[in-house]
Symmetry: C2
Subunit: 364 residues, 2 copies
């Protein structure tokens, strides 16, 4: 994402480029769960349907947050939105209220912005217990306090029984763009290192276990957490050496790295042996035949930093809040452009593709 200020001419030029691009056609006649999974189908729907309809250059970056510099102001701010439909509403390590705050706070943090305010829109199903709603609202309030943001706007709608599923929450967020680094896939260069701030797959596994879909006799905690503190810590230490940030939610680490490879037109190599994975998550993934690189996280970031700042970035993450398990997990290469390659623990290599289908609907 380009967090710089754009002139009106640049915006119009970007719109013109989009207009000239061949129109992608969405082949699906009906919405499927895969369209909500954050992988290949989600991207196809965005490119074929939403982008042509909502034609404008700000949205087109396909990033988690748009960046705006209103004409009469010298402030550049980031704007982001996310709806939360997680099932179950309460799970080990968190609930939908906490998730709804952290999800949007993290999207802003990944855009290199300091989150300042959130909105919260609730869609309630008729018959939902108000005691549960109160618990969720309180959790949302506590999470906002923890992340240092105010909930500045709210809305509640109710739909009939059987037209919802308890509670859906949308949060949108505003952040002030940090000037210590300009983040974006176009800043990523061959030689840069790829870091992750901690163990991967924790949130997705917590949801799977909480749903009782697995014959596992264990409880696994979600990692839901705000990342704005950690990003602040990282930018303070490494400044402009930080090139790109993303939180690997739906679709996991694999999907965000595929997006980076495509957007930056670079190759990304991941060292399988370096991926931090909790033994419980690793074991469950092995039993289930799931690749933890595709399992969702809700309190981890993936960072690309300049090679000469990689060790400092690693140490900074490790001393930061929630970053003790941080690791350098890969590097950016010139070849093959647009692709992610995994160097396996057995010395082989394989292509890491974007998530297809939806192995785990309603993860967030």
């Amino acid at each position: 994402m380009n967090s710089g200020v754009r002139s009106k001419e640049e915006v119009l030029a970007a719109i013109e480029r989009r207009r000239r691009r061949p129109h992608v056609k969405l082949m699906d006649e009906h919405v499927t769960l895969a369209h909500g999974a954050g992988g290949r189908s989600s991207r196809a729907m965005t490119e074929a349907l939403f982008l042509p309809a909502l034609l404008n250059a700000v949205l087109e970056e396909l990033s988690d947050a748009g960046v705006l510099a209103p004409g009469s102001s010298d402030t550049t701010f980031a704007f982001s939105t996310d709806s939360f439909v997680v099932k179950p509403l309460f799970f080990p390590g968190g609930d939908i209220g906490e998730l709804a705050v952290n999800g949007t706070v993290n999207d802003l943090a990944m855009a290199g912005a300091t989150p300042i305010a959130l909105s919260a829109g609730f869609i309630l199903e008729e018959g939902f217990p108000t005691a549960d709603l109160e618990r969720i609202a309180q959790s949302l309030g506590r999470a906002a306090e923890k992340a240092g943001v105010v909930v500045a706007a709210g809305d509640t709608k109710v739909v009939e029984r059987g037209k919802g599923d308890g509670v859906y929450i949308n949060t949108a967020g505003i952040g002030l763009v940090d000037t210590r680094s300009t983040l974006g896939p176009d800043r990523v260069q061959p030689g840069d290192k790829v870091l992750v701030s901690g163990t991967i797959g924790d949130h997705g596994m917590a949801i799977m276990v909480a749903r009782g879909q697995l014959a596992l006799e264990c409880e696994s905690d979600s990692d839901t957490a705000p990342l704005n503190g950690l990003v602040n810590h990282l930018l303070a230490a490494c400044g402009d050496s930080v090139r790109w940030l993303r939180d690997p939610t739906r679709g996991g680490v694999a999907t965000v790295l595929c997006e980076l490879a495509l957007a930056g037109d670079v190759g990304v190599t991941v060292y399988e042996a370096a991926l931090p994975i909790r033994p419980l998550v690793n074991g469950a993934c092995e039993i289930l035949g799931i690749d933890p690189m595709y399992v969702a996280n809700e309190g981890k970031l993936v960072a690309v930093v300049a090679a000469d700042a990689a060790d400092q970035a690693l140490n900074t993450l490790r001393t930061g809040d929630g970053g003790s398990q941080a690791a350098i997990i890969g590097e950016v290469r010139a070849e093959p452009p647009g692709m992610v390659i995994l160097e396996t623990s057995f010395g082989g290599t394989r292509v890491v593709d974007m998530l297809a289908g939806d192995p785990l609907p309603r993860i967030c």
Copy 2:
């Protein structure tokens, strides 16, 4: 709503006032459709459940948009959110996409802010036709263009068949606070005039007819439209004489005037004979025994202006976009504080209460 900049001390004082206020208990054990209707039950849920949970002074104004002045910036902006669950998705005069833009644009305009950017979060039901989704997205894009806002952030989630109802849309919006007037119920004074920008009840009636719930052989158009242009026109002409603005959506003109009377601790008198109502809407309301003052609007504003500026405000609205049927419909009085009184066409008076229950769920 107070659109001025607040110091940290003022914010903390407001939080302390809220903490000291006796805790209202929500008596309902389960969510009902009335909690989403924008009337008495919605207010009870907000006061008893959401406000204590999301304790902060910005939200507490109970207005349609929060106002923020981030520390490092000299810009004051308004932030608003609204979810749209209207049924049917397509109705005479509009659809959910257009409604989702205009609803949030209008909330910002009513806060005296110039809307600049929206976010759009879609919650889709598995199996929904993508052709319909495309039609909705395009309508949303056109409405944004018409209102002069960019869609700067987007998100899509999919829920299983039977856990949604085609499409729900949340929009959040950012606007820059206009300095030509400070709007708020505390600025409303006895003697001020109450204006409405056009015929009332058009949106609600369009939805009722579109649902086929009425044995009426007619088609009635929704009034969905952006109001930011009209507000700009009004502020340019009348400036600080404009004291308070609100768009009478869910709960209609009656409910927003009740909210004004309570928040401003004033009486509001409405002249029934002065209410502009289309003959078709009036006739349908009579047949159905519905008071048009409670029927939703999606392209009308209610304004309170100083008495000496009322005629100018009326002429300004009448020459503005969508304001040709504007009328002075009442006045603010000292007595009875907190109440709305209707002077009926037959020379009597009656109390106008806030909407109770939900005569028409999912109107927006």
